[in-house]
């Protein structure tokens, strides 16, 4: 081989190419392995896990679904009642999506298309809210809701989630509304539609991908949320969300790890499935601003 061709450029290219594949491999493994391990433990017997903790494969004969049975069975039947928790979480998340979209679609339209005094201030307000620490907000909300006797109310929880997701929702929707040609809206106005009519007949039908992405984002935030669920609902066992129920399960007496992992899978799987269904939409919606620079 001709050594003269091994100049700096060539060496760097070779080294960086190797490094690139090493980076991809390592990061893919560390991203995926915990989830693989979660599923693996949820279908093994606790005895097997304790006997050979280092094993990361499961033979077909070892597979057991006992952990799932225990997690899903209702509390009256000696299980952990996760069916109900999943119902509560789903209801809370769906309600949050519906309310958030209902309030933020007109809001996003207003800040995109209408010029009025105070629009910029509204922008800063929402950025501030996005960055404002949840833990600081938690104290007065805890106090107020305790006083009103509304702690434990799912409606209050949904309202808090709406307030937390509105800033990002507004930002995502606005990015999309801006791409809709103004002439289409003008045409609808000439046809005698008011503002709400324009939003309903033009902006919304044209922004279905953005709406799907936004709904997905809000659903994920509401489904995953932990702090407010903990503060508001911990004394109301019948209203626990999956996150809260799972964390309380871990805090109690001897619950086998396999059961905890089965619960974790039930908590994580819906989000991962939704995410893979709408990944492209979501990534584009969230980073739209960044691409524009």
């Amino acid at each position: 081989m001709n050594t003269a061709t091994w100049d700096r450029d060539r060496i760097e290219k070779v080294v960086l190419n190797v490094l690139r594949w090493v980076t991809i491999a390592v990061l893919t493994v560390i991203s995926l392995f915990p989830f693989y391990y979660m599923i693996l433990l949820s279908i093994r017997l606790i005895q097997d896990v304790q006997l050979s903790p280092g094993s990361i494969v499961v033979t077909p004969g070892e597979i057991a679904f006992g952990a799932y049975q225990e997690v899903l069975k209702s509390v009256e039947n000696g299980g952990q009642g996760f069916v109900r928790l999943i119902g509560v979480s789903a209801a809370v998340a769906v309600a949050t999506v519906v309310v958030t979209l209902a309030v933020s679609i007109p809001g996003a339209y207003a800040v995109t298309r209408l010029r009025f005094y105070g629009r910029r201030q509204v922008d800063s307000l929402f950025l501030a809210i996005y960055l404002f620490p949840a833990i600081v907000l938690a104290i007065p909300l805890y106090v107020v809701l305790s006083r009103l006797g509304l702690r434990g109310s799912l409606v209050a929880l949904v309202l808090v989630y709406v307030a937390q997701t509105v800033p990002v929702t507004l930002y995502m929707l606005r990015g999309y509304f801006e791409t809709i040609p103004v002439s289409l809206e003008e045409a609808a106005q000439l046809d005698g539609n008011g503002r709400l009519g324009v939003i309903w007949r033009v902006s919304l039908p044209l922004s279905r991908p953005a709406l799907a992405a936004t709904a997905l984002y809000v659903f994920m935030i509401a489904w995953n949320e932990y702090l407010f669920a903990l503060l508001f609902l911990v004394e109301r066992r019948d209203r626990w969300t999956v996150s809260l129920g799972l964390s309380q399960l871990a805090g109690t007496i001897e619950i086998p790890t396999t059961v905890l992992m089965a619960g974790s899978v039930l908590l994580t799987a819906p989000i991962v499935a939704l995410f893979f269904a709408g990944e492209r939409l979501l990534v584009e919606g969230l980073t739209g601003g960044a691409e524009k620079g």
Partner: protein, 325 residues
Amino acid sequence: MSRATLEPPEVDDTSERPAPRSPLQRGEAKTGWGLLTPTLLIVLVVVVAPILWTIILAFQRVRVIDLRRRGLFGQWTLQNLERVFGSPGFWDTLWTTVVYTVGGVALSIGLGLAAALAVRRPFRGRTFVRASFLLPYIAPVVGATFVWQTMLNPEYGVLNAWGTRFLGWDRPVDFLNEVSGSLLGIPVPTALLTVILFEGWRYFPFAFLFLLARMQALPGDLEESALVDGATPTQRFRHIILPQLLPTIAVLTVLRFVLTFTKFDDVYLLTGGGSGTEVVSVRVYDFLTSRGDIGAASAEALVLAVALAIFVGVYLRLVGGGRSS
């Protein structure tokens, strides 16, 4: 309803008020505020009002027990603040929070940058790799922390099983409950380090997402001309790509810093704030729930918000100063 109302938003002269306003503009303002009202109402009730009340509470003596009979304004006092600054462990907690935040932010942005550079050019399976990278970020925090706890468990966790079998560890390491251990002979705060690693793992996708989007939007001609001039890959990164990414990195740093500094769930679920990992938000939560001391919790939260504002202010000054010069 006229053409004037439909001008693109970039033509924005609204900040230079008060200029003479036509009836049309007035109508537009009315519609604008009307459409924003539901959003603003929720935000005012659920966010702004409570924040103001936190400030009031911080200067009052309130405990959970007297909540029912207290009015909004009790006697004013500075005791809460005195107690916050004077109480044992406050400065330790603040220091832990700073270490946790700086470590977590640096690690997550560093990993995110590496990930974005690695998948920048198309390759077979890239869509799958990109989606995998995002998993730690989108997974529910309770599930993510539990699987980490399980993996790191000294009795049946996979990491300790491998460490003792293949890496020759003489004993399992209790990663989340050990205050300090030694790594290659250097003493390290084990639990705090583990929590920082978790933070880097969980949030590198956030940085990755934004850096990748930015990289793909970079104009190709600069890099091409550098290539023609014979710049090596590292030179192109150092002089062409990195400078164009710096604004994005700066924004990411602020965002991640603010969000990590006040993060509650991750540390609370991983260690409960034990073993040298007590961050301010966990302490606030403890004041609020186990001690029922609302005044102290509010004062502590206020200190947290002010400390945060100071850090961000200093940072923006540094970055802003650097850019304008």
